[in-house]
Symmetry: C2
Subunit: 318 residues, 2 copies
């Protein structure tokens, strides 16, 4: 999703190698479910942030690939659980038993992965790292439940949206940055600075993800996306557009979110653009990316700090 190829291709390769070599279980069904999800891609941005934050404090990133990998695996485990069917529509025409068998395996494979991560983290890392990671997982779950409860809630306030995003997405970036800082023996001040960087970066990262959901079809990026809209998620482009929408557009959105068939996704996207949802989201992304960069003030200049700044700047590109 985000352009990051400019930084650390070799470190990324090392993290990939760690995934391939270190993750194995006696249980082929679990291993298969997890490897499939790892192979499905991802920019490994959480491990990169952890390694850059360690490096920004003078640590050798190569020495901390293992913790970096666990950060990605926590993300992967949450993706495996996201796989659990949450939409009756996609069941139609599919053998229900097979899907349900898949549900159980998804749940168990994700649980196994969480347990495997914590088994290793508690064996190899001192306090507070195991505590930071488990507290972060609790926040992610809390945020996902809040998101589930807000599905289709067109009156969601921006503050409530940001709370969900902080919990479900940004908390893991914050933990990645903080754990990296701890591995680099950062001072309390720099540890806080890097944690803040991760938090603000993570908020902007999720907003960018929301934005691409509605803009990706305006570019030559394969099929139209708009999956968030189809799933009745309340994303920031929609929220901001609704603040300035006229009555007919609001009514169109309400019908669509109520499941009425007469409104199309492309009408929604047009309205979101017309009423400033896309421009407004770009401004919010810029605001949080800026806060991320400003958070880095207590961190001394280095190659790693520059790379963190580049990561934040890349959120403004499309």
């Amino acid at each position: 999703m985000i352009e990051t190829a400019r930084s650390d291709p070799s470190l990324s390769a090392l993290v990939e190698e760690f995934f391939r070599n270190s993750f194995t279980t006696d249980n082929p069904l679990i291993t298969e479910a997890i490897r499939r999800m790892l192979a499905a891609g991802g920019k490994r941005i959480r491990p990169r942030i952890a390694l850059l934050c360690a490096e920004a404090n003078g640590a050798l990133p190569q020495a901390h690939l293992e913790l970096a990998a666990y950060l990605e695996l926590i993300h992967v485990a949450t993706l495996i659980h996201d796989d659990v069917v949450d939409n009756a529509v996609i069941r139609r025409g599919v053998n229900a038993t097979a899907v349900d068998y898949g549900n159980r395996i998804s749940v168990l494979a994700g649980d196994y992965l969480f347990a495997w991560i914590f088994k290793n983290v508690t064996a190899r890392y001192a306090h507070p790292i195991p505590n930071i990671l488990s507290a972060t997982l609790a926040q992610i779950c809390d945020g996902e439940v809040l998101q589930l409860r807000s599905l289709g809630n067109l009156d969601l306030q921006l503050g409530a949206y940001v709370e969900i995003v902080m919990k479900k997405t940004a908390s893991l970036f914050a933990a990645a940055a903080e754990c990296g800082a701890i591995l680099g023996s950062a001072s309390a001040c720099r540890r806080k600075a890097l944690r803040d960087f991760g938090l603000y970066y993570g908020i902007a990262f999720q907003m960018k993800d929301d934005l691409l959901d509605v803009t990706a079809n305006a570019q030559m990026l394969g099929k139209p996306a708009c999956n968030d809209l189809r799933e009745r998620k309340v994303t920031i482009p929609l929220l901001l557009a609704l603040k300035h929408a006229d009555a007919p557009f609001r009514a169109t959105v309400e019908r669509f979110y109520a499941g009425d068939g007469d409104a199309t996704v492309s009408a929604l996207v047009t309205g979101i653009d017309t009423f400033g949802g896309i421009e407004g989201t770009r401004s919010e992304i810029a605001r949080y990316a800026d806060r991320a960069r400003l958070s880095l003030a207590p961190v001394q200049e280095s190659r790693a700090k520059a790379q963190l700044q580049h990561l934040a700047a890349a959120l403004l590109e499309e």
Copy 2:
């Protein structure tokens, strides 16, 4: 399921009180899902074993209610995930969206509970307790996947059955006993002895659970059970009966497990009894309960040790 009221009603009450007072989250949907599962009952046998193992080493059980509660909560979290629909039949006639919404909430509430437990355990207990608990959770998941893969496998060997049971059920009893021993500062020898007690007790406990699935309807215990049979689980009474079954009974079981409607559950139960599945299971329970009691040899005599022996003996009652 098992008669344990004779021991420690006051400690059980304290554990209940800990549950009620300490477990709360900012997220009402998660809190509700977890409290509902806690209120659904359970004998709190895992916390009791942990407290007795601490007491058997001279510790005050009242001082360790918190860890005892986490052991029960790990069990509860696995039950919440078991709730995820794994049988197309029970969906029929139910609003699929509601069921699916329930699936997601069950997954997230269980994840949240695991994370909350590990957040607290990593903050409050020294190595190796957090490591033992996360390794145990990995074993439980592994065992549940093995069980899922063995659904309907009528050729399952007894050794493979015992491996599944050790992982999915006995590992948590073993962890409860070991953590209790650690909290009581037990010697390595007694820690191993108590862990073995938990392991063998847990195997016998699951076998007893399997047995009650087919014998509970012969008693005045409400409606017939046989849920394991209906779910095509391969339980030990069935496995042992199939070892001595004639061709017609084996064919009946095969038809039933293939989903053919002409065999009834009660015909299965009759056959299981006829071919020694019930008596054979009682012998296996006695064998593992005995191994549990024998494991206690290195532990000096005390009220707590006597209670552990009573727990094992109670598995032989019906």
